[in-house]
């Protein structure tokens, strides 16, 4: 009688790399873990903003009587009411709403690029990546304008207690309210803007790799998916920044 051993081939050695944890590839899993740590960083920023805001007195009167003051926290829709080429017209939050919409749209084109990648549709990936990169660049342009307007300030400026008038904001002085407000604006939207910038750079890299056929020869378009995760995360963060910095 021959010795026979039953080998269960379906039971791979879990500790020798025989199986993918969570049925997700290494790269995708690591991207998720990076995004979670990045989510903590942004949470810390937004919570710190909440704390500093909470420790300042709020504005008590009605919205129509509101004026900028160093003594209370400003109302965001009174600060962010400018729109390019509409100088002097009060358009509260319209510009930032447009930016939100642009970023969401570029997230949609990213999903379409990933979908095209699943079908090995190189032309589809190229087309939708171009739109995604375009959306990202437009968003960055909008943010540059928003920063420029915030830094230069309004026509009237704001009078300090010693009688001097200041215009706009920097890290020391802020015509819109307590200096902390400007500091958080620069840090939160700046950190997010840097994420958008690096996202555009990564998107361009993947677009280039798709265009020259690197991803096609590799046999799959998973890189589009991984960079796509990062790009959606950037959009996700903006959704929270929009609510907690501009709306609340």
């Amino acid at each position: 009688m021959a010795n026979s051993v039953t080998v269960n081939t379906s039971n791979k050695d879990l500790w020798a790399g025989g199986a993918e944890p969570y049925k997700a590839s290494y790269g995708k899993l690591m991207m998720w873990f990076f995004l979670i740590s990045d989510a903590f960083t942004f949470s810390a920023f937004l919570i710190a903003y909440g704390v500093i805001r909470f420790r300042h007195p709020g504005y008590e009167g009605t919205l129509s009587d509101f004026s900028f003051s160093q003594t209370y926290w400003p109302i965001p829709e009174k600060v962010f009411e400018a729109f390019p080429f509409f100088h002097g017209v009060e358009l509260p939050l319209v510009f930032v709403g447009l930016m939100t919409f642009i970023l969401i749209l570029s997230s949609v084109t990213m999903v379409l690029a990933v979908e095209a990648g699943h079908r090995m549709d190189r032309q589809g990936v190229e087309k939708w990546m171009v739109w995604t990169i375009f959306g990202g660049l437009v968003f960055l342009g909008c943010q540059a304008w928003e920063w420029s307007h915030f830094i230069h300030g309004t026509d009237a400026g704001s009078r300090l207690l010693d009688g001097s008038i200041i215009y706009g904001a920097n890290l020391q002085l802020n015509q819109y309210g307590p200096p902390d407000f400007a500091a958080f604006f620069f840090f939160i939207t700046g950190f997010h803007g840097f994420h958008v910038f690096s996202g555009v750079a990564l998107n361009f890299l993947i677009f280039y790799q798709a265009t020259v056929g690197i991803l096609e020869r590799r046999g799959h378009y998973e890189m589009v998916e991984k960079v796509g995760l990062y790009w959606h995360f950037v959009d996700l963060v903006w959704v929270f920044v929009f609510t907690f910095f501009y709306l609340v």
Binding site: K23, A44, M120, G213, V239, T243
Partner: protein
């Protein structure tokens, strides 16, 4: 001589249903953003608490669609989904802890 690149890979045809789903989710996100605007500019100032409640609720609706559909997390293995979602509970703890601190600072200065 450089050979011209020849592609033998034929892309599979697009699944109309899948494409429709993507634009459907995009429509929901646009609609919720529009609703946020309506609440911000049209609801009376005296409803401040209710407005904040609505903003946070709508933010989480948008976040849910982005993470579950666009980032595909809702269609991954359930264990992966919870591995990502459960640690975000720490954020809630940080929020609670620091807001108690902030109130104490406010009371010390203005209280």
């Amino acid at each position: 001589m450089i050979e011209p690149e020849v592609s033998t890979i034929k892309p599979q045809p697009a699944d109309k249903k899948k494409i429709f789903k993507i634009w459907w989710v995009a429509g929901i996100l646009a609609l919720v953003t529009a609703a946020e605007f309506y609440v911000a500019l049209q609801f009376p100032e005296s409803w401040k608490g209710f407005k904040i409640f609505l903003f946070i609720g709508m933010t989480f609706i948008k976040a849910g669609y982005i993470v579950m559909e666009f980032m595909h997390l809702g269609h991954e293995q359930k264990s992966l989904m919870w591995t990502i979602l459960i640690p975000t509970a720490f954020v809630v703890w940080l929020l609670g802890a620091l807001f108690i601190q902030a109130d104490a600072i406010y009371q010390a200065i203005y209280g």
